[in-house]
């Protein structure tokens, strides 16, 4: 039972957006409450949708999907354009990062999507961590809109990115189909 790749990605889009806006946006995390000026943050896992699109997705489709995803999340969070800007950027960078990390040309991976199984554990972690950090850095820069308190910016980026990575690894472990050799 192989689901149509389009249907699968549309479903994943809905699930990831709802997971982000209905659950993750509601849990405000804070690593320490003392010293009291550690900012509240939430993990952003929705870029995972862009990370998991099939290898042969053309760049223009990545960009447009990234923009749609970003605007959808912006719409829920009253942050006009900030998520869209960060997501379009990582959609553009995705192909280059994958090319740098994979031994073979991207066009040779047909009908496959980035995952721990296809890429190996470390390359996948490097790929997702790099793009997530870029995404968070851009997003929080736009959110704070000034470099005057760069400490808060870095603190928020690092804290949020690490938490997002934990959620992404958990998501990958939960939603990757295990070996299907058993009938």
């Amino acid at each position: 039972m192989i689901m149509n790749v389009y249907l699968k990605n549309i479903l994943r889009f809905c699930i990831i957006v709802l997971l982000q806006v209905l659950i993750l946006n509601k849990i405000n995390l804070r690593w320490w409450s003392e010293p009291a000026n550690f900012p509240l943050f939430i993990p952003y896992v929705y870029p995972l949708f862009i990370l998991l699109l099939p290898f042969e997705t053309p760049v223009w489709a990545l960009l447009i999907l990234g923009f749609i995803l970003g605007i959808t999340v912006d719409d829920f969070m009253n942050t006009a354009g900030m998520h869209a800007c960060a997501t379009v950027l990582i959609a553009y960078l995705r192909t280059n990062v994958l090319n740098a990390l994979l031994p073979r040309n991207l066009s040779e991976y047909t009908n496959q999507q980035p995952s721990m199984k296809v890429m190996g554990l470390m390359p996948f972690l490097v790929y997702s961590a790099f793009l997530i950090i870029v995404h968070h850095l851009v997003f929080f820069t736009f959110e704070l809109w000034s470099l005057s308190n760069i400490g808060t910016l870095l603190l928020k980026t690092v804290a949020s990115a690490i938490t997002s990575m934990i959620f992404i690894v958990v998501y990958m472990l939960l939603f990757t189909r295990q070996s299907v050799s058993r009938t």
Partner: protein, 284 residues
């Protein structure tokens, strides 16, 4: 011409990328101004309805807490009511006549006319730089832009975007919103937020002569979109600023933004008139 088409084809991805980035940055720049605009907000149809569904589910789990807060608010209002009843305001006037609100000839003028509308909070954020609250009332319930929003215990924010059935409220926990405030002895200041803790507000530009001590209450003034004498918070810490001989006061916010369920939207019926007067005098 052919070269141009080739150029477009060669750099199509880069052009698309730059185009989309420019669109997003223009949208960000629009919202960074104080006025904002209504392109993207959680007051629209789809996100409003999804938030409403979610809040209907969550509603039952918070009933107990909400009951307690309503009882507390009732008790507080009863005390205020008793204070007003026990005061005989007409005792020293010469003629005892009934006050008629339509009687404009009498020298007692109704000073400001506030209408309160209750609304249910269906989405709330605390972690962003500019936090927004979505409520389930919109223009069809008479909500318009720039109305003040309070909770049972204190101030919440100001209405920013309105759709037919939803509105999004910019909360006090925002770098964009300032509220004018006064201390018990009548000293004015303004309330801002330091973008870090969701329960600490800062009152700035307070004159050094003002006598403040820890635990004092801070209230709203009649200058803003809030009705006067609504509690903002209590004084936590006082800081002297040598540079401009002012004080900065840290307040414990009286509204608990973590568990906001019901709010009141304030309509000031005198506001259009006041605004018109101020605008006409500013033009001269």
């Amino acid at each position: 011409m052919r070269n141009f088409i080739l150029f477009i084809r060669r750099f199509f991805n880069l052009i698309l990328f730059l185009g989309l980035e420019i669109v997003s940055i223009v949208m960000i720049a629009h919202t960074k101004t104080l006025q904002g605009d209504d392109i993207v907000s959680s007051a629209n149809f789809v996100s409003g309805h999804i938030y409403k569904e979610q809040s209907d589910v969550k509603y039952y789990f918070g009933l107990r807490k909400m009951n307690d807060s309503l009882v507390n608010e009732n008790a507080r209002l009863r005390i205020q009511l008793d204070q007003i009843h026990s005061k005989d305001t007409l005792s020293d006037s010469v003629v005892h006549r009934r006050l008629n609100p339509n009687d404009t000839t009498s020298h007692i003028v109704t000073y400001a006319d506030y209408v309160y509308r209750s609304a249910h909070v269906i989405n709330n954020s605390l972690n962003a730089n500019d936090n927004y609250i979505t409520i389930d009332r919109g223009s069809s319930d008479g909500i318009t832009k720039n109305m003040g929003v309070i909770s049972g215990t204190g101030i919440v924010g100001r209405v920013e975007h309105v759709s037919a059935h939803f509105a999004s409220v910019l909360s006090v926990l925002s770098s964009k919103l300032t509220v004018s405030a006064k201390l018990k002895d009548g000293t004015f200041g303004k309330i801002i937020w330091d973008e870090k803790q969701p329960d600490v507000l800062i009152m700035e530009d307070v004159q050094q002569q003002a006598k403040v001590k820890k635990g004092d209450s801070v209230f709203t003034t009649a200058f803003s979109y809030f009705s006067p004498d609504i509690l903002i918070g209590t004084v936590l810490k006082i800081e002297q600023i040598k540079k401009n001989a002012m004080q900065r006061i840290y307040l414990q916010s009286s509204t608990n933004f973590h568990s906001l369920q019901y709010v009141y939207v304030i309509e000031n019926k005198m506001m259009p008139e006041k605004k018109q007067l101020e605008d006409s005098s500013a033009k001269k």
